[in-house]
Symmetry: C2
Subunit: 205 residues, 2 copies
């Protein structure tokens, strides 16, 4: 019988995401999100316990965009896993500033569960089970989240590389040389290359 709710969790998450995309993580403030919704700051608290829950909503909204429909089953299972991993990277890349929120809230995310379930299915199809399968899933997730983080927090490829290339080459000969090679490797190639290493380790005899 009371007044009906005017917001959905999804609408709130969208508003918060709009703020973050526009003003970065530093601009993400309860007041700013409320303003984006044309509300007072305190009205937000009718929908959310605290800032942390709002962050969870955001992460869930971003990761919820992952397409977990199984890739073409005619592809080798390793390639299908590659696709699933790339899909997760893609949705986060659409909102780079949330990259650092993901690891914090991942373990409460339903989207991550669905994604993990899909990956586990493919790992199983690849003949993995038991503890080896646990290690594989966890390894993929670690690499994925680590790579996303590094990518959006001061990339090796990119402007940082320039500084690296000017390192005193007597004390850091390898780094100086590597920085030169790094210029040839774009972010996608870098990510896919690392992922391929992991997956090759999975299938090697």
């Amino acid at each position: 019988m009371p007044r009906p709710r005017s917001l959905t969790p999804d609408r709130i998450a969208s508003a918060a995401l709009a703020v973050i995309d526009r003003d970065g993580l530093a601009g993400f403030t309860m007041r700013a999100v409320a303003a984006e919704l044309s509300m007072s700051a305190m009205a937000l608290y009718r929908y959310v316990d605290d800032r942390e829950e709002l962050e969870r909503l955001i992460v869930e909204r971003v990761l919820g965009g992952i397409d977990v429909t199984p890739p073409d089953p005619r592809l080798p299972w390793v390639e299908r896993i590659t696709i699933l991993v790339q899909r997760m990277r893609t949705v986060v890349a659409a909102h780079p500033a949330v990259a650092s929120l993901v690891p914090v809230h991942r373990h409460r995310s339903h989207a991550v569960l669905r994604w993990s379930e899909a990956v586990l299915g493919l790992l199983t199809e690849g003949g993995l089970a038991g503890e080896r399968r646990v290690v594989a899933l966890r390894g993929l997730l670690s690499y994925l989240l680590g790579a996303i983080q590094l990518e959006h927090l001061g990339p090796l490829t990119g402007p940082g590389t320039a500084a690296l290339a000017e390192l005193p080459s007597d004390r850091f000969p390898y780094l100086a040389e590597t920085a030169r090679s790094a210029r040839q490797v774009g972010p996608d190639a870098e990510f896919d290359g690392g992922l391929a290493l992991l997956l090759r380790g999975l299938t090697a005899p």
Copy 2:
């Protein structure tokens, strides 16, 4: 001719680390660190531009503890890399709460440079060069930082696993089963297992 400085960057970082170890990241406050040094909050700013620089000092102090002396050269190069990676994990594990600061400040850390140089040397010894070597270094760092993060932010192994095991097994059959296997895998085995995958990918034909 003026009054001498009474603090070293290292002493400041130690105080901050003491605060973090005692009260967690949330307790890490300019005022708290200053109090730890028996100073007023503003006195800190004679030594540090802002909070961010203090965070950098902390990360540098933690990562500075890495032992980068080359492991026994009689070991295969893959094992020597394993040792270097584990050493990085070890120093962060000693101060779990700083885990989330590391990725943010890594690219300005001299300690990371030294570590990277050592790893690159071993990769080179393993016959890697050019873009393959770039991808390898970056892959190792991504996995390492991702794994550290996951480990200290809601582990798969650990209490989280219990919740996972009780998932509706009709919708998450693999996850439910995997959660049971996960109980057998300790954090060290999990980390080392994932790392081994990556390195095997590096040496596979």
